[in-house]
């Protein structure tokens, strides 16, 4: 696809582009992905948001061992590793790292970032229940974040600039939703791997360029002749699917499976719902980013997430679920012991639970398990 080829060029040039913007005085704001940092606040202050989202490599995990214990979530350890190792433009260029404190893994990662002075950090809390009190706490946190952004960037997040940013981000969400929902039919030529590539790109590219890319892709898809795609339809879920962590999607597609919907910390949680434009923008952001957010496993109760996965399985005509966990992310680990039976009882579908610590030695055993699972559900 032409659009995806130009996306690669965009991605290749982005580091140089960011260096240029930084030299011009723009602040580059790194944030921990997971759907709780409103990029709109960053954009409205004239700063540039980038998700710190590298993973999948073993060396950063090993390096992080000097700063964090090994029994912390692999992705969280990786963030410390990539920062310490250097050479990753996203990690090197940022002026501030924004961390929404969600569970202990994220908190401990932020502790290490702060304690070892790896760069300036700003934390705000994400409560674990959907109550009015919790919503107010989250709102208080993003207000503090807005103040921080204003003082750092010199910009002002006015109602107007916030609404402008919301419109832009809503457009991106709308386009992602449109492409994602196209996958309900069995004939979309875009692979799961391509869609995940787009999601990852959205954490890193200029927002307007991303919107143009998605618009162009939709035009391209709509102009193509419909060709049925065969193979078991897979729902891929878990805590985090990082940029660079391609082994699972590769193994699934090599085994003949088609990932047609995915639910991780990044991606769907962000694009599934829009931010309202008819009220106070900060309150609208809190409502969308917290109160209406599809919950992760560390929410109490976490049932909402499981029910949502079951709904997705039905809507996307799924043949099987692959639960891809990272080592020591407790909430997801415990959920992975509950979910297969709940899914089976509700839909009759099977789940394959696999775990990774970003070690290359995992690939062989994972291939065997994934191939077996795909064969099994193929019937």
């Amino acid at each position: 696809m032409d659009t995806l080829e130009s996306l690669d060029i965009h991605l290749k040039n982005r580091a140089r582009e960011l260096e240029g913007l930084k030299a011009e005085g723009h602040k580059i704001i790194g944030y921990y992905p997971g759907g709780y940092v409103p990029e709109e606040i960053i954009l409205s202050c004239g700063a540039i948001p980038v998700g710190l989202h590298r993973g999948g490599e073993h060396e950063p995990v090993l390096i992080a061992g000097a700063y964090l214990p090994r029994w912390i979530d692999t992705f969280c350890r990786s963030q410390i590793g990539f920062k310490v190792l250097g050479g990753e433009p996203t990690y090197d260029l940022i002026d501030l790292f924004v961390v929404p404190v969600t569970d202990n893994n994220v908190r401990i990662m932020a502790d290490a970032w702060e304690f070892y002075r790896l760069g300036e950090i700003f934390k705000f809390g994400v409560p674990h229940r959907k109550t009015e009190r919790a919503l107010n706490y989250y709102l208080h946190g993003i207000h503090a974040f807005k103040e921080k952004m204003e003082s750092l960037s010199g910009g002002k997040a006015t109602e107007e600039s916030l609404n402008e940013a919301i419109v832009l981000c809503n457009r991106e969400r709308e386009l992602f939703r449109k492409i994602s929902l196209m996958r309900k039919s069995g004939s979309l030529s875009l692979t799961g791997k391509d869609f995940i590539r787009l999601l990852h790109a959205s954490l890193w590219l200029d927002k307007r360029a991303m919107v143009e890319t998605l618009e162009s892709l939709i035009r391209e898809i709509e102009s193509q002749e419909i060709q049925p795609r065969f193979g078991p339809r897979i729902l891929l879920t878990g805590s985090t699917l990082a940029y660079g962590d391609g082994k699972i999607i590769n193994l699934v597609e090599e085994a003949g499976g088609k990932v047609v919907i995915e639910h991780f910390a990044e991606g769907l949680r962000y694009y599934w719902d829009d931010v309202a434009l008819d009220g106070n923008p900060m309150e609208a952001l809190a409502e969308a980013y917290f109160q209406r957010r599809i919950t992760p496993a560390w929410f109490r109760p976490s049932r909402e997430m499981r029910d949502f996965l079951i709904k997705l399985a039905g809507e996307f005509s799924i043949d099987g679920v692959i639960w891809y966990g990272l080592m020591y992310r407790d909430s997801y680990t415990v959920q992975s012991t509950l979910f297969p039976k709940i899914l089976k009882d509700a839909t009759g579908l099977s789940t394959l639970v696999i775990e990774s610590d970003y070690d290359v030695q995992e690939v062989g055993p994972l291939r065997t398990r994934i191939e077996t699972f795909i064969e099994m559900i193929r019937g």
Partner: protein
């Protein structure tokens, strides 16, 4: 009574045994503890605890009593409430005080770990059941949660009428409660907070966070009262609050005694007494207060004589707590000549920073919990550990780092770097599990502990203090 010897050793009076005989017979039957297990327990108590001190023996007795209470609670018609460990906001006490004799509100896994684990050495099959049912091995999951699930699944303790869950300090605890809620249909009440404090915030407390926590405590209490169909009883609450004050005052006195050189008691024994407030329901709390009241003059006597488990002048360190499931770790530390006069959990200097302008019970609870540091942040743990080094004139830090505890995960790394650099005293990190000795043994740590003991002794003999650096 095949259990008379062990109970006597643990401070039970003859008439109490006779009075509680039917309960003891039934509970020990359910627990599968026969004459052989009593002999094992007797040996473990004699070997593991300072039984010259009646206060320690009584404390052991309270743990066994607590075990009997929780095993029989439902058959005795009590409304049974379990809260997660660590307990939050004095909530357990407040709920207990809503109905003395009618409500049993405890942290069962903690009782089981000490009574059935440390005393009877019969906890492993329960953990294995917890692993089989919900929390698989090899994923660094908490032993306490495995015990909670395993004990209910095996029918050793009843499924409760209510679960008090925390959603913020320990992700696994909340997950465990949700699992029990879904599998056994037990109602649950969730208490939330967010550990988002800035690194340099402590000892100042973020008022937003405190206010959110206080509101959650109040909400949890109100919801719990509704589910249990109880109304607060002013008289019972007053009596409980008085007992609680006596207990806290007693702890302060024992801490004061531990400043002596040598400390008069092993920290692992003192910890057994101190933790009673976390694990006994109202009905047995008076016994816990009696245990500490018995211990205080015994410690004073030893301080006066200048005696303790170690000689005067032994190097002094602090730790987070002493692994309690395996006595061997505490013994190894003492055999290496290292005294532990204070632990993070025993250190109560936070009482001096409490702001009297907070007036409601929930606000005071939230303030206390945050000020203690554990539920505040890793930087607060560092803050109090540095203070303890000064207050107790310590020569080092021997940090027991739990490998299955995410909330505590970074504490060892932070403490080692900060304390060695800022205070100039050595820090040894011991990777352990406080509650599960299947994955480590005291013996595996012998080399580390003995070498650390030699290092501390050598530094001390050269007169190096924490102010002089390395």
């Amino acid at each position: 009574m095949y259990y008379a010897d062990i109970l006597k050793l643990c401070g039970w009076e003859e008439d109490q045994m006779v009075r509680e005989k039917p309960r003891l017979d039934e509970a020990f039957r359910i627990l599968g503890l026969g004459p052989d297990e009593m002999k094992i327990a007797e040996g473990r108590v004699r070997e593991g605890y300072d039984i010259d001190l009646m206060g320690v023996r009584k404390a052991l007795g309270v743990w066994i009593g607590g075990l009997i209470d929780v095993v029989l609670s439902k058959t005795e018609g009590k409304k049974t409430v379990y809260y997660s460990f660590p307990p939050l906001g004095g909530l357990g006490g407040r709920i207990s005080a809503m109905g003395k004799g009618e409500i049993l509100c405890v942290c069962p896994e903690f009782i089981l770990d000490i009574a059935l684990g440390a005393i009877f050495d019969r906890i492993d099959p329960i953990m294995e059941t917890g692993e089989e049912k919900a929390l698989p091995p090899g994923r660094a999951l908490c032993a306490l949660n495995k015990i909670r699930i395993g004990a209910i699944a095996k029918g050793i303790i009843p499924a409760p009428d209510l679960l008090l869950a925390s959603s913020y300090y320990c992700d696994q605890g909340g997950q465990t409660d949700e699992w029990l809620h879904e599998v056994y249909g037990v109602p649950w009440v969730v208490l939330d907070n967010v550990m988002d404090s800035a690194w340099d915030e402590f000892p100042t407390l973020n008022p937003e966070r405190l206010s959110y926590m206080a509101a959650e405590i109040e909400n949890a209490w109100t919801e719990a009262a509704g589910i249990l169909g109880q109304k607060p009883d002013e008289k019972d609450w007053g009596e409980y609050a008085e007992l609680y004050s006596r207990f806290v005052a007693g702890i302060a006195k024992t801490n004061s005694a531990m400043k002596a050189d040598p400390p008069p008691i092993s920290q692992s024994n003192l910890q057994l007494v101190r933790f009673l407030r976390n694990a006994t329901s109202y009905d047995r709390f008076a016994d816990a207060v009696e245990a500490i009241d018995t211990l205080i003059p015994e410690l004073a006597q030893r301080v006066k004589k200048g005696t303790g488990p170690l000689p005067k002048g032994s190097p002094r360190v602090t730790s987070f707590l002493i692994p309690q499931r395996d006595h061997e770790v505490a013994h190894l530390i003492e055999k290496a000549g290292i005294a532990i006069p204070v632990t993070f959990l025993s250190y109560d200097a936070y009482t001096g920073m409490l702001d009297p302008t907070y007036t409601t019970i929930a606000e005071k609870s939230a303030q206390t919990e945050l000020s203690r540091g554990l539920y505040h942040s890793t930087s607060a743990i560092l803050y109090w550990t540095k203070k303890a080094v000064e207050d107790f004139d310590l020569d080092g830090v021997l940090w027991s780092q739990p490998i299955h505890c995410r909330p505590m995960a970074s504490s060892g790394f932070v403490l080692k770097k900060a304390i060695e650099e800022e205070l100039g005293i050595p820090v040894l990190i011991l990777e352990v599990d406080w509650y599960d000795n299947r994955i480590f043994s005291g013996e595996s740590m012998r080399t580390k502990i003995e070498t650390f003991g030699h290092l501390l002794a050598a530094r001390k003999s050269k007169g190096k203090t924490n102010k002089e650096g390395n």
